[in-house]
């Protein structure tokens, strides 16, 4: 059974590891998932899980993923906001699969997934 003892061992292991992360800084990508009632009801949780999973799998250290409250567009939930290269991209009607594609095409390779973006204006 997982115990605090085991967590202590994990801490020691992590503290002894040299930090080989690429330095987060100006090139950091910030991703926010709307987690208000309507977002949750529309499926924001699997979207968030897919983003975290992709980030772990690809060891993306200059990506920060967090949740946010009401974005004010209930009918477009689940919504994912990506802040990258000084711009804000709003992805709407997201699913776990779309989220993985955004991670791959946009966050990693720099090509926004235009088909999922909220139509401008």
């Amino acid at each position: 059974m997982k115990s605090l003892e085991e967590l202590r061992a994990l801490r020691e292991k992590m503290k002894s590891q040299t930090d080989n992360r690429s330095v987060a800084g100006a090139d950091e990508t910030v991703i926010k998932v709307g987690m208000a009632t309507c977002g949750i009801a529309a499926g924001a949780r699997p979207v968030l899980d897919a983003l975290l999973e992709e980030a772990d799998k690809r060891h993306l250290h200059n990506v920060s993923i967090s949740q946010t409250g009401c974005i004010g567009m209930c009918r477009l939930e689940p919504i994912v906001e990506v802040f990258k290269d000084g711009q804000k991209y709003t992805y709407v009607h997201m699913t776990a699969d779309k989220a993985r594609k955004v991670m791959n095409d946009h966050v990693v390779n720099g090509n926004p997934c235009k088909e999922y973006l909220i139509s401008e204006n």
Partner: protein, 183 residues
């Protein structure tokens, strides 16, 4: 919402918006009595009586000018449509306690769903808030306390990938197995 776990997440989000620093989540089931209870308590900003009346029952209030949310009403509905009851206690400046009870076997009771996943999300996405989570099932009890984790981790964040993997298993073994993973 199709899973009570999603209601739990939503209600805990209220606590987070209320500036809570400590959030307790309690899940309790007694199969002999066919009862289960979900309790979320926080030390956030709380609400006054007028506010409380309005947010738990937005349809009978005369005030329509201010926006009312759906989170509390949905949670209330989940309990009252499943042979249970619902209560919110709140005190301005002190905190809030939301409690929903269900008849486990009621035909309209929604399944609990991915309780473990919701707990993992809450404790890893909110580095400044401590969670105390309990699962009780027919006398068996499991506990998770993020204060203990943070004391051990000594500054390493709970959302570090390796820690997250540990926590996922910890939740599974200490909370989810208590009720057998399906409720």
């Amino acid at each position: 919402m199709r899973e009570l776990a999603l209601n739990i997440l939503d209600i805990a989000e209220n606590s987070l918006s209320a500036g809570a620093k400590n959030i307790q989540i309690g899940l309790k089931a007694d199969t002999q009595r066919d009862e289960m209870e979900i309790r979320i308590a926080d030390d956030g900003c709380g609400m006054d009586a007028e506010m409380l009346a309005r947010v738990t029952d937005p349809f009978t209030t005369t005030r329509t000018t201010r926006k009312v949310g759906m989170g509390l009403p949905l949670f209330r509905f989940s309990a009252e449509s499943a042979g249970g009851d619902f209560s919110v206690k709140s005190e301005k400046g002190k905190g809030t306690e939301v409690c929903a009870r269900y008849k486990i076997g009621h035909i309209d009771r929604m399944p609990l769903g991915d309780f473990g996943g919701v707990v993992l999300q809450l404790i890893t996405m909110n580095p400044d808030v401590d969670f105390f989570v309990t699962a009780e099932f027919d006398g068996e009890k499991g506990v998770l306390d993020t204060k203990e984790f943070r004391a051990v981790m000594d500054g390493i964040p709970l959302n570090a990938p390796q820690v997250r993997v540990f926590l996922r298993d910890y939740i599974q073994e200490n909370l989810v197995t208590i009720y057998g993973g399906r409720l």
